[in-house]
C-alpha cells in the first residue's frame, strides 16, 4: 500500500533537494518526504498519471513545497493547475523560491498559493524554516479531510 506523502518537494536543484531533505529529516524524522524534479513530474505525481499512475486512490500530499523555476513546466503553471483542479485545490501549496521579487510573490498569491517563502542563504535559517514549515503545515494546520475532497 502506498503511503500518503507529508510533503511533496518540487525542486530541480539536487543540492537544494539534499539540503531540504536534510533539514526536514533533522527536525521531523518520521516525515514522509517525496521529491519530484520538474513541473511535469510534479503534475504526474499529483494527478496520479504516467509513472505515478499506481498512486491513484492515494490521498494527495499534506502540502506541496514548490520552486518556481522548474524544467519542462514552470512552477507558476504547476500552481495554476493544482488550484484549478477540484480534487487538488485544497492542498496547501507553499512556494519556496529564491526570488523575492514583488511581482513573483503577487502572481503566486493571485494563482492561489497558500504561502510564499524565500529560500534563506544560511543553512541555519534553512533548517529553522524547515522546522517552522513542518510545525505549522503538518501539525498546526488543519487540512481538508479525505472524503471531503470532492467539490
Amino acid at each position: 500500500m502506498i503511503e500518503r506523502a507529508d510533503i511533496l518537494l518540487v525542486e530541480d536543484n539536487p543540492a537544494d533537494i539534499e539540503l531540504a531533505r536534510h533539514a526536514f529529516v533533522r527536525c521531523r524524522a518520521a516525515c514522509h518526504f517525496e521529491v519530484v524534479q520538474d513541473g511535469e513530474e510534479a503534475l504526474d505525481f499529483l494527478f496520479c498519471r504516467g509513472a505515478y499512475a499506481k498512486r491513484a486512490g492515494v490521498e494527495p500530499p499534506r502540502c506541496v513545497l514548490l520552486d518556481l523555476k522548474l524544467p519542462k513546466i514552470d512552477g507558476l503553471e504547476v500552481l495554476r493547475q493544482i488550484k484549478g483542479a477540484p480534487l487538488l485545490r485544497r492542498v496547501p501549496v507553499i512556494v519556496l523560491s529564491s526570488s523575492s521579487q514583488a511581482s513573483d510573490i503577487a502572481r503566486c498569491y493571485d494563482l492561489g498559493a497558500n504561502s510564499y517563502l524565500v529560500k534563506p542563504l544560511e543553512f541555519g535559517e534553512f533548517t529553522q524554516l524547515a522546522s517552522d514549515v513542518s510545525r505549522y503545515w503538518l501539525e498546526l494546520n488543519q487540512d481538508a479531510q479525505q472524503g471531503m475532497l470532492s467539490p
Binding site: 536543484n13 537544494d16 536534510h22 529564491s98 523575492s100 542563504l121 543553512f123
Partner: protein, 628 residues
C-alpha cells in the same frame, strides 16, 4: 528779406492800376470847358456834378482795382505750386500793401500751437529790418502779440498808436515803435473756420480798410489759406508715400482689370521688378501667384465678403526664385457700385522663416524618433537588467546556498574529527560564502532600485531615523552607540527607498564607530531659504581620507580593507541611487580618524523646501565637498 521791385509783370500790373487811379483827374479836364464859357450857377451845378461824379468814379475805379488785384493775385495763386508758398508770400504782401497803403507786411503761419513768421515785405522807403529780424526769430502762441491776437480773435483787427495804447503791450511793441510803425492791421487766413495763418500789415498811420478792401482781403486770405491747406495735404501725402517706401513689407495696389497701380520700394526689392516694370500688370501674371487651398476663388470670396484676406501665397521673383509670403489684402470698393474696387496688398517674405520652421519641425521629429528609440533601448536594457537580477537571484544564490548548507552540515557532522586546521579552513569557506551572499543580496537591491516606481509621500524624518536605528540593533549588539537626532523637517519621499538609504547610512555610521566607546551618530538638517533642505548623518568613527571622497559612491568601492570592516562596497552606491532618483544630491566629508559626515537633499535646487520647521545642528555644508 524781399523788397518789392515790381519786376514781375503780373504783380507790376496790380501796382500799375494804382498809378492809373492817381491820373484820374486828367479825364475830367473837358468838364471844365463849360465852366469857363457859362454862368456861375451852371458852373456851380457842373462843379457839384463833377464832384459827385468824380467821387463815384473814384470809388468805381478803386473797386475795379481791388477786383483786378484780387483776380490777379487769386488767379496767380490758384496756378501756383503750394510748395512755393514761401516765394509767393512776399509778393502777395507787396501787392496788398500797395492796395492798402501800408509800409510793410508779415506772413504768419500756424504750425501746431505756434505762429511763425514765414515771409516779410517792406517798402524801400521805410526799412524795418530790426522788426523783421525780431518777428522771424520769435514764435507766438494763440493770443500772444498782435499776430497771436488776430489768430485768437479769428477776425480782422486794427490798431493805431499802439506804443501808448493800454492793453496792447506785446513783445514786438517796442520793435514796432523803433521802426516808426504806429499802426497795424491783421487779418486771419481761414480754411473752413480754422485759422491757418495771419496776414499782418503795418504803417506810419492807421488805414482802416473800407468794405470793398475788406472783401478783397477776405477773398485773398481764403485763397492763401487754401494754398496752405493744399500744401499741408501734399506734404502729408508725400510723407505717406515715403512711409510706404520705408516699410519692409512689399506693398501694392491693383485692380482687375487694370493691374498694379502702386508698387513700393520693398516690392521692388523683394520681387526684383521696378515700379515701371510692375505698373499695369496683374500681380497674378507678374508673380505667378500660387494660392492656398481653395485657390484664387476662395481668396476672392473672402475679400468680397469681409474685405480682408490673410494667408500664405507663393510668388516667383523676376530672377525665378520661389517665395512664400505672408499676405494681407484689403479690398476697397469703388465709389459707384459698379465701379471696380482696388485691392491693397501687403506681403512679407516668410520663405526663410518657413524653411527654418520646417527644419525645426523635422529636427523635433527626428529627436522624438531618437527619444522613442532610446526609450525602447532603455526599456530593453531594463528588461535585461531584470532578467539579469532574476538570474543572479536564482542562479547565484542556489550554489551559494549549497556551499553554505553543505559546509554547515559538514561542520556539524565532523565536529571534533576534522582537526583545528580543517575546522579553520571550513570556517573560511563559510565566511566567504556568507560574504558573497550579502554581495548578491546587495546587488539585487541595487538592481531593483532602478525599476521600482517612485512613490512620494510626506515622511516624518525623525521617526524614520529612529526606526531605522532600532532596526540596526543587531549590528550594535554589545556596544554603546548614541543616536542624537535634531528636529528634522518633514520631507516628501518614497518611504521604502528612503528607509533603505537611511539604513545604509546609519549602518555605515554604526560600523565605522566600532573603534569608539561610546560611538556617536548624529542626524540633523540645515535649512536655507530658497534651497532644498540638507540632511546630514555624522559619526565620530574612523572617517576617511578626503582625497578618496570621490570614490565613496562607486559600486564595489571600499575605502577600508575588507577584514577591518565587513561590507560589500554597494551600500553607499545604493544610497546615492536612491537620492538621485529623488532628484537630490549626496556628498560626503571626512577626515581620517575624525569621523565622517554625509549630506543629502531630497529635491533639486529648483524647488523650495516649503517646510516651516527649522533644523538644528552644527555641521553646515558650507562648501560642497564632493558632488558624485
Amino acid at each position: 528779406m524781399m523788397r518789392g521791385t515790381g519786376a514781375e509783370y503780373l504783380w507790376g500790373a496790380g501796382l500799375g492800376l494804382k498809378a492809373w487811379v492817381g491820373a484820374l483827374p486828367w479825364w475830367d479836364w473837358p468838364l471844365l470847358v463849360p465852366l469857363v464859357g457859362g454862368g456861375a450857377w451852371i458852373a456851380f451845378r457842373a462843379w457839384r456834378r463833377h464832384v459827385v461824379r468824380s467821387r463815384r468814379l473814384r470809388i468805381l475805379a478803386r473797386e475795379r482795382m481791388y477786383r483786378e488785384v484780387f483776380e490777379f493775385s487769386a488767379l496767380a495763386m490758384a496756378e501756383e505750386n503750394p510748395q512755393n508758398l514761401a516765394e509767393i508770400a512776399p509778393r502777395l504782401l507787396q501787392a496788398l500793401c500797395g492796395v492798402g497803403g501800408w509800409e510793410g507786411g508779415a506772413f504768419w503761419e500756424v504750425y501746431g500751437e505756434r505762429l511763425i513768421c514765414v515771409a516779410w515785405w517792406q517798402s524801400a522807403s521805410c526799412p524795418t529790418d530790426a522788426l523783421e529780424a525780431f518777428s522771424r526769430t520769435h514764435q507766438f502762441a494763440k493770443g500772444e502779440d498782435f499776430a497771436g491776437r488776430v489768430w485768437e480773435l479769428n477776425a480782422p483787427l486794427w490798431l493805431s498808436e499802439f506804443a501808448g495804447a493800454e492793453g496792447w503791450e506785446f513783445p514786438r511793441a517796442t520793435a514796432f515803435a523803433e521802426a516808426g510803425m504806429r499802426a497795424a492791421f491783421g487779418f486771419p487766413m481761414r480754411s473752413g473756420n480754422r485759422v491757418v495763418g495771419v496776414l499782418e500789415f503795418f504803417g506810419k498811420e492807421l488805414r482802416v480798410p473800407d468794405a470793398p478792401m475788406e472783401a478783397l482781403f477776405w477773398a485773398t486770405s481764403r485763397q492763401v489759406a487754401q494754398l496752405i491747406e493744399r500744401r499741408r495735404v501734399e506734404t502729408q501725402m508725400r510723407c505717406q508715400a515715403e512711409l510706404l517706401d520705408l516699410s519692409y513689407a512689399a506693398m501694392m495696389v491693383w485692380q482687375d482689370p487694370g493691374g498694379i497701380s502702386f508698387w513700393n520700394r520693398a516690392a521692388e526689392t523683394l520681387y526684383g521688378y521696378t515700379r515701371g516694370e510692375a505698373l499695369g500688370h496683374s500681380p497674378e501674371d507678374l508673380l505667378a501667384t500660387r494660392y492656398p487651398a481653395g485657390g484664387r476663388e476662395a481668396v476672392q470670396a473672402v475679400l468680397g465678403k469681409s474685405g480682408v484676406w490673410e494667408g500664405l501665397l507663393e510668388h516667383r521673383t523676376k530672377s525665378g526664385l520661389q517665395l512664400t509670403v505672408e499676405s494681407r489684402m484689403v479690398f476697397f470698393r469703388g465709389a459707384v457700385e459698379t465701379a471696380i474696387g482696388a485691392v491693397m496688398e501687403s506681403n512679407l517674405d516668410v520663405t526663410e522663416q518657413r524653411r527654418a520652421q520646417a527644419e525645426v519641425l523635422a529636427l523635433n521629429l527626428a529627436l522624438e524618433q531618437r527619444v522613442t528609440e532610446r526609450t525602447a533601448d532603455l526599456e530593453a536594457a531594463n528588461r535585461e537588467l531584470e532578467a539579469f537580477s532574476y538570474s543572479v537571484s536564482h542562479d547565484l544564490r542556489g550554489p551559494l546556498r549549497a556551499i553554505t548548507g553543505f559546509a554547515s552540515i559538514l561542520e556539524e557532522e565532523t565536529k571534533g574529527r576534522l582537526g583545528p586546521e580543517g575546522a579553520r579552513l571550513l570556517g573560511v569557506i563559510l565566511q566567504n560564502a556568507h560574504r558573497m551572499g550579502r554581495l548578491v543580496n546587495d546587488l539585487l537591491d541595487f538592481a531593483r532600485l532602478s525599476r521600482q516606481p517612485l512613490d512620494r509621500r510626506p515622511v516624518d524624518m525623525e521617526h524614520l531615523v529612529r526606526e531605522c536605528f532600532e532596526d540596526l540593533a543587531p549590528e550594535r549588539a554589545g556596544r554603546r552607540v548614541e543616536l542624537v537626532v535634531a528636529t528634522l523637517p518633514e520631507c516628501t519621499a518614497d518611504v521604502s527607498l528612503l528607509r533603505q538609504a537611511l539604513l545604509n547610512l546609519l549602518s555605515n555610521a554604526v560600523k565605522f564607530t566600532r573603534v569608539r566607546d561610546p560611538g556617536r551618530v548624529e542626524v540633523g538638517a540645515t535649512i536655507q531659504q530658497g534651497s532644498p533642505v540638507v540632511y546630514w548623518v555624522k559619526d565620530n568613527g574612523t572617517g576617511f581620507d578626503p582625497k578618496y571622497a570621490g570614490k565613496l559612491f562607486g559600486v564595489f568601492q571600499r575605502l577600508h580593507p575588507g577584514d577591518d570592516y565587513e561590507g560589500t562596497g554597494v551600500g553607499l552606491t545604493i544610497v546615492q541611487r536612491i537620492i538621485h532618483r529623488h532628484g537630490g544630491r549626496i556628498w560626503g566629508e571626512g577626515v581620517v580618524d575624525s569621523g565622517a559626515t554625509f549630506f543629502f537633499t531630497l529635491e533639486g535646487n529648483g524647488h523650495g523646501h516649503g517646510h516651516g520647521r527649522g533644523g538644528v545642528g552644527q555641521p553646515g555644508p558650507a562648501t560642497e565637498g564632493v558632488r558624485p
